[in-house]
Symmetry: C2
Subunit: 427 residues, 2 copies
Amino acid sequence: MDIKREITKIAEQAKEASRLLPLLPSKTKNKLLISMAQELIKNSQSLIRANQKDLDQAQKRNLKLSLVDRLTLSEKRIAQMAESLKNIARLEDPVGKIIKSFRRPNGLLIKKVRVPIGLIAVIYESRPNVTSDTVGLCLKSGNAIILRGGKEAINSNLAIFKTLSRSLKKYGLPAGAANLLKITDRKAVDVLLGLEGLIDLVMPRGGEGLIRRVSKNSRIPVIKHYKGICHIYVDNQANLALAKKVVFNAKVQRPGVCNAMETLLVHQTIAKKFLPSMLKELQTAGVEIRGCAKTVKIASVASAASAASAIKKAKEFDWQTEYLDLILSVKVLSNLEEAVEHINHYGSGHSEAIITENRTKAKRFLKLVDSACVYVNASTRFTDGYEFGLGAEIGISTDKLHARGPMALEELTTYKYEIFGQGQIRT
Amino acid sequence: MDIKREITKIAEQAKEASRLLPLLPSKTKNKLLISMAQELIKNSQSLIRANQKDLDQAQKRNLKLSLVDRLTLSEKRIAQMAESLKNIARLEDPVGKIIKSFRRPNGLLIKKVRVPIGLIAVIYESRPNVTSDTVGLCLKSGNAIILRGGKEAINSNLAIFKTLSRSLKKYGLPAGAANLLKITDRKAVDVLLGLEGLIDLVMPRGGEGLIRRVSKNSRIPVIKHYKGICHIYVDNQANLALAKKVVFNAKVQRPGVCNAMETLLVHQTIAKKFLPSMLKELQTAGVEIRGCAKTVKIASVASAASAASAIKKAKEFDWQTEYLDLILSVKVLSNLEEAVEHINHYGSGHSEAIITENRTKAKRFLKLVDSACVYVNASTRFTDGYEFGLGAEIGISTDKLHARGPMALEELTTYKYEIFGQGQIRT
């Protein structure tokens, strides 16, 4: 009950603050972000000391090494956090941008104008850099924010937030414009998710478990990204050298990210020609292959000839899985339609690619695949706010409403209609 | 359990159909809509006969007259339904429209393209015209649809839907592109609202009770409009003649609709000058006034002088209420900030207006009021898809994500990124 009252109070104050943020000039917001960047650098040592407490705890609790890595702050990482804030300062302010403007026959002038969403809650896990990134992106887009980071990073997050708060005060931001919850109890999340009417949007950032829990329990709109089960379909009319290069890149260059390929789909006509050398190259790079019956057959013939390793048979589980690892499922199919069906059935709506020289087929694939980003002859690894030239990214949405694909400043806004009259009435 | 299996099957088929709808050319969709309009006219008599069954039931169940009126189909109303379909056929097709197109330094061409949302469920009450309007709007924007109308209109809805289905077959639409649930059991709604992953969007249309129930129980994104508690603030720098005209129009012209004014806010400096004649005019038109203490005082002095009726004292309840009737709550306040605070606290985020000749104040009001439509010197009654020139309307959203204000064809779409490469990989 106390947690509920405390968090509700924080949200009420944050909502109040959010009412005033649309008035903040871009210049003030930019100065604020640069000041926050400077504070981070200036306080590097104390941030690293606070982070050490979390690292000590992590060791006691035997956290996974990958988690410890994400948790760790170094001077270099703090410098990157500062750089990211400066970068956000340089981006165009979406608030106040006129999306459309038109005059009606009765003389009414109607402007559709970008405005902040209001109050955004971000629930995240171990990466402390999310704290400064998110504060930067939300304030630049005129939104108030409530952060709820993971228990494992609480000391780091509190230290970062305290550092940023100095700049908030310096630039006279309304009290409560940015908040970090000290309460790491899981109850705090449930309370947040029930504050419909106060909080306008919830964004979970972290593992699939967290995201599912948040989106299941929220009474507030959620924009999320469950996972990226990305596909590449190599058509029978593909340039096979190009296909090889793109497939290798999408799987191997950085397998642990959401835009890496998890399943390769190959047209049956070119499978025998394409797969043996492709699979060998992938295996040489350490990729474990799990193939459909046809793939296994092609590979076994090839491996007998070339001494490449044999491959495992893929199970239903494999088509549904985001490995985030050097593992690839491979399926041979009879045509583009089958590929589309497989993608729309097993995919996560993130990023898919077709490799083909046939424009008509490329167009058909683009239209039929129901994903945020659909590529022709390029690696799925480009689905990213920076790669798209948005300058920053708060996440990638695999939802279809409001925002889809890389989310940057513009996606953190909504719009309102401003209508200018001279006494017009309805008759 | 049977209901669940049946509805899930319908949704699965509808989802399959939705995959193909993005391929439908605008021309085919337009011909389809015109054919549907013709079928409605051709079958007027049988529609009216089916409607009579619902009207008989309504009489037996002693339904309210206003409900019976909404339920009634006449030749004229059927002609309007047909006209509305033809009108949608004439509107520009949003699908395939390029929102943005840009080339990255690495040569990737990125297009942000409008695409249908997918499968939309519409849950509505007694108006049978919603059946044809919604089918028209959803199909034109390339979406598959599941309709779930109210029990009280089931015979009319089934007859309308059967009539429209003839055209669907004639134009070869994929089976399941449009569906009307025969099951009027309330369980059907609960099943629909749980079909996350199949249904992409739920739109409730009807009374506040229905909308709250749907949005509370849905696991699927909902776009809704609870109610319209619209305000007009008459500033001390208002043109009072203009104010009088606009206020009268916003309350009296059609009090039963969501964009009618429910609360009048008046700056204290002009209250004594403005209110007596304004209130008298409203009372003469049959409006019951419920005022704050200051309003009551001003009115009582005035009524002693002019023999206008005295007014009731407004209670907390009044500021929170969408009367949809000839009732108006009136509050005198000391400045624009108080007006904004009142609106953001009690309003429903629908439509508000300021009457002022001061541009700076107008701008401040526009920025600070957190509503879909904010007017300067015009009646709130213009918040409407047709009045905005959108050509049609599926509803008005008081939500802030995805769509805000009048929703037409464009708001029934989302976007995807289509990315064209020549073998680009990430390094």
